[in-house]
Amino acid sequence: MVDATILNDRPDRVAVAAQWQLIWWAFKRHKLAMAALFVTVAMYIVAIFPGFFAINDPILQNARSTFHPPQSIHFLDTANGFSFGPHYYGMKLTRDPNTLAAIFVEDTNTKIPIQFFGRGYTYSVLGLFETNIHLIATTDNTKPLYLFGADRLGRDVYSRTVQGAQISLSIGLVGVFLSLLLGIVLGGISGYYGGRIDFVMQRVIDFVLSLPTIPIWLALAAALPQGWPAALQYMMITIILSFTGWAQLARVVRGRFLSLRTEEFVAAARLDGVSEGRIIFRHMLPSFSSHIIASMTLAVPAMILAETSLSFLGLGLQPPTVSWGVLLREAQNIRSIATAPWLFMPGLAVVIAVMALNLFGDGLRDAADPYNK
């Protein structure tokens, strides 16, 4: 049965609507999930082209900008007459006469215009070609723009956060993909064959699910040699995360397989002379692919949180690799964050990304079965 309210809206179009069309219509009515989808897509676009969205070179250190506070972009300038146009003001560095601590003061006399699609540092786009065009570029390289401020070594927190999106967001996807492979194979075998294989697999899944993940990840991560190249480290961390992540997905796949096995339309297909392969791929897989996608979407944020926690503890990715977890290590001690609370900004990015993915996955799950309302 299709959701009656959709049916009432446009019976002619619904009559010929395939599953994905129905899911999309159901999903679209979920406003919050739509907003989350928008945010998710935007974040992944940033993650694909971090260089374009960054302002300063994320690994460039600048001794003069240690703990430089965040600056904001202004559009209306009243300090120097009256003019429109995006710009920011330079900062003057003074020192507290007693403690010698650095104090940055906004200097409204030095107005620095901002250029959209201007030139900046050179970066590589997905390793394919190099360019130096940025969404936002400053016109004065001696006075860089720090949207989220700078860290202990004067590196731009905003550009590093944008750069970190690439690793943090992709590790979630890759990790879930690996978990899914394991989950589909093991859960599928379990659910399809049933019987003793299913019993054993069930016990294994229950066992893995009852393990506390973080201590195990820690132990696994501690086994990684420190000196490995970044790419290898990245792969190993995703494998470690999928080591426990597959069980949840396997459980979902198994449950679906079991319930589909008893569906009458599957029995009918068998009687039609449909081969086992075609039953699985033409009849069963389309029936639960939407559920799997929803479960996957909900597993991605968990992976992101896991990577962040591991890297934060120093057992995940290692600097100079830039991920949100690695960036948050800068916020590890209370003195740093007391001086520079903007070091929390990568944490905000984590919260937004995870929340958007959770909301998106939630909406997807609600819309995933348009036939059983």
Binding site: D206, F207, L220, I352, M355
Partner: protein
Amino acid sequence: MLKFIIKRLLWMIPSLFAVSFLAFVLIQLPPGDFVTTYIATLASSNEVVDQNTAAALRERFGLDQSMLVQYLKWIWGILSRGDFGISFEWQQPVSGLIWERMALTLVLALASLIATWAIALPIGVYSAVKKYSIGDYAFTAFTFFGLSIPSFLLALVLMYIAAVEFGADVGGLFSPEFETAPWSIAKMLDLLSRLWLPVAILAVSSTASLIRVMRANMLDELPKPYVTTARAKGLSEFRLLIKYPLRIALNPFISTIAWLLPNLISGSVVVAIVLNLPTAAPLLLQALMAQDMYLAGAFVLLICALTLIGSLISDILLALVDPRIRLE
């Protein structure tokens, strides 16, 4: 019923063995062993260890034997005399180092579990009964936020607020004067006065997920025919709610211990490290870094065993409260 409990208890034996083996393998994974690390540390301070000393060290710790033999020796020691081996780094028996920290870990996890339940249960029920009300939306917003913030970040933010706004140091579980003091009433009170913060931090994300579980359970139960039957009998809405759908929605809720406990313990590891709590976690991290095999192994084993026992308890509780399982 008794059969069910016995079956479930028997099932614990292979599970515990699997966990112990897993813990041992995990600890054995890193290339090299403690002696390698030890020599490296000495070498950095310009001390040279000759091959004979290294071999002697390996023999003393039994590191020259095969992994299986080492495992069997280890597990036999634990089973026969509660001997978890020697911590290389601390040069003392592991069992002397772990128990107080494990006890505090358990206290922290249990306190968080209770807090989570106490908060999540009424909110979940409220959200389901008053579906789509302002309150429901507010709690839903909270759950999404709670699920999205990593617990260590929450700990950091609270530490920051405490330090900047109140000038308080909220790290640790004891005030400095009690840290090494023997147990006393005053120390207990001190512990309680400091326990709430890590408990609150840990409870946020688990509460968020549990509210969602409880709300979904209740929404499943509310339209069931037996609720209509109860209503047709003339029971008041509140009474029937408590007696029927809530009672039945509680069953899947109880089974959440099985995954809640591993989650809480997992979360507590990170939070404990950030807040520098004297629980198992910081020592575990240190032991892992230093490849202090028996110490790390003992922690991983005990933590995993704790969650296995948690799921055992939840299964038995479930059987106790659900006649459909009890009388199967």
